[in-house]
Amino acid sequence: MEDKKIKFQASSQEFFIYPLRGWQAINWRELWSYRELFYFLTWKEIKVRYKQTAIGIFWAIIQPFLTMVIFSLFFGKFAKIESEGVPYPVFVYLGLLPWTYFSQSLSRSTECLIGNSSLLRKIYFPRLIIPVSIGLSYLIDFLIAFVILFGVMFYYQFVPQKAIVFMPILIIQTFLCGVGFGFWLSALNVLYRDVRYVVPFLLQIWLFVTPVIYPVSLVDENWRWILSLNPLWGLVEGYRALVIADKPIPYAALGVSAVIILFILITGVYFFRRVEKHFADLV
């Protein structure tokens, strides 16, 4: 008996529970000890998303692909929007890649806490994992859609420049952008259910203020700087610049985007941590 007690004492993680007030820092050690849950929640997200669909993960391809076809037809062919010297489908697909990823992960993040209410009410784990796993799960869709990019480029006999190997940097930036806004919106949606009605509308407007359909050159110069405060502005420009040979890398816009994303991410985490203690009582 004595031995057992000593063993328990040694293995025990001792902790105190007391009212949490104000801002909470991230508990990195705890997140690390739950690292497998990142994997499992992401895996569950993907699994559930495509279960019982006839074509499964192909949806990840079809969505951006069909959007590209339709946009190419209406904006490229009929409206004849210029496309920086590359075939319009390649141009628009490069914009749709980050956009689709961002908008999907954002709308799913908004619902993620409410949607997992039974988990939140009955079990403890670091809540931050949920929005992160949403971002990770759509990353899989993103990567599949990315492969299609090569198909599109091949079809139009378009050769990307070598800088495309730097793409992972932009992908990480896009991921952080989705997760940062995800922290804000998921937590806000628990406090105010209005958020879920606002987000679809927000995304509609957001698409227009992001150069997905149109090139930046179409925007009046006086307006560009204010529009580039939109973190996706620099990102979409960046995706194109890494692929299209004679398009200069928009370092300034990417820098602005990175700073804003970092700001959203950090404030998002702190806001999330501040209100997460109420989640179980409110969902």
Partner: protein
């Protein structure tokens, strides 16, 4: 106690209820509430606070099995939620020594579209198990649940019994130092309940600390040595389980002859097919849940049905406080099974009462097809049989035996 596992001091938890709580659901109402709070004074604001727990303190030793009892809404689940860090206390402090695992609901996070196997891994991960830990114990978990054959079937095709079996098995194979269990030992059929309790006893024997909440006094008596009684969020007694139970039963409300069920977790609803809304004792002794000795028991039960069902068996039973079944009566004694459509039903039950005077546990149960899986079970009601004269005949509780085939009458009418 120097080597305690849990020590709580002055733990309190308040919830905002009523208008203010609802107000925070939409921004517009929040703005209105904000505006209103400028007009209202502070004292009025505190009136909308509900103290689910107030200054609760206790110490639980290492390796102890500790019970918490109390009426519905007394704060038991809230306390377990605070201990498992799901929700935050408003005041107070709890010191926990050891890895905490909580089992507040079976199959938390089970996703209907995932197979049993996938859910075991997912549920395990959520409970805090490592993948290799789950791998190692996988066969054991499945063997315990006895559903090997269905392990690769999506859980939405499981019967409710299979679902809870799997859910309990996963949680029961997680090895925390401190285990918090809320009202989940009464799931599944009788055989599985026995198995769950056995498992708990094993866990306790291996030196782990367990905190159990249950309305089933028999289970509590079997498992716990010490217990605590909560009443409206406050501790009214801590001590040996027998003393606590005595206190609990004596304060248990018998003053009313009807019970209105507001939230569905009062009655254990396993599938969302039906719920009990109200139970009333007709022609009882006074305005209370009491009948006289040898007086037939007349119950009127309001049921709400959510999905059309055929072949519903509905029954009532009486158990003694040690948990032995003494009387069961089912609707198949006379009218046959029911076919129910969604809506409100009123059920009138009358059965002969041949028990000795004393306090009994009255339960209601419904199932469909397989008698081992309940659609619904509730037993949170005490029926007292009063003596008329000093001589009390009837079944001898010293030698409890189940009496079936007593005269009973079940009438079911659709209201809406």
């Amino acid at each position: 106690m120097s080597d305690y596992a849990i020590q709580a001091t002055e733990v309190s938890k308040s919830y905002r209820i009523g208008k203010l709580k609802a107000a925070h659901h939409t921004a517009r109402e929040a703005l209105q509430a904000l505006a209103a709070s400028f007009l209202r004074n502070r004292r009025e604001k505190s009136d909308t606070l509900l103290w689910a727990l107030k200054d609760v303190g206790f110490t639980i030793g290492q390796g102890e099995v500790f019970g918490i009892v109390g009426k519905n809404g007394s704060g038991k689940s809230t306390l377990l939620k605070i201990m498992s860090r799901i929700t935050d206390p408003t005041a107070g402090k709890i010191h926990l020594r050891g890895r905490v695992g909580s089992l507040l609901e079976v199959g938390t996070g089970f996703h209907p579209d995932l197979t049993g196997r996938e859910n075991v891994y997912f549920n395990g991960a959520i409970l805090g198990m490592r993948k290799e830990e789950i791998n190692r114990r996988f066969d054991e978990i499945i063997a315990f649940s006895e559903i090997e054959r269905f392990i690769d079937t999506p859980v939405k095709y499981y019967s409710s019994g299979m679902y809870v079996r799997l859910g309990f098995s996963v949680a029961a194979h997680f090895d925390p130092d401190i285990m918090l269990v809320d009202e989940v030992l009464s799931v599944g059929d009788i055989a599985f309940q026995k198995k769950c309790i056995g498992r708990m006893e094993n866990i306790a024997r291996s030196g782990r600390t367990i905190v159990v909440v249950s309305h089933n006094m028999a289970t509590m008596k079997e498992l716990c040595t010490r217990a605590m009684l909560l009443h409206q969020g406050q501790v009214t007694k801590i001590g040996h389980i027998d003393q606590v139970m005595e206190e609990y039963l004596s304060q248990h409300a018998l003053e009313s002859n009807e019970k209105i069920i507001e939230h569905s977790n009062d009655s254990v609803v396993l599938e969302n097919k039906m719920a009990i809304r109200r139970i009333k004792l007709e022609q009882g002794a006074g305005q209370s849940f009491r009948v006289y000795w040898q007086q037939a028991v007349n119950l009127s039960v309001d049921l709400e049905i959510f999905t059309p069902m055929e072949d519903v068996r509905f029954g009532v039973y009486l158990r003694d406080l040690a948990g032995n079944y003494l009387i069961t009566a089912y609707n198949d004694h006379n009218k046959g099974h029911w076919q129910l459509r969604p809506g409100q039903y009123s059920v009138k039950i009358e059965f002969e009462n041949c028990l000795k005077p004393g306090l009994y546990l009255l339960g209601l149960r419904a199932h469909q097809g397989d008698p081992q899986t309940n659609l619904l079970q509730m037993e949170d009601l005490y029926l007292e049989i009063l003596e008329v004269s000093s001589s009390g005949a009837g079944s001898d509780p010293k030698n409890p035996a189940l009496i079936t085939g007593i005269r009973s009458e079940f009438l079911c009418n659709k209201l809406l």
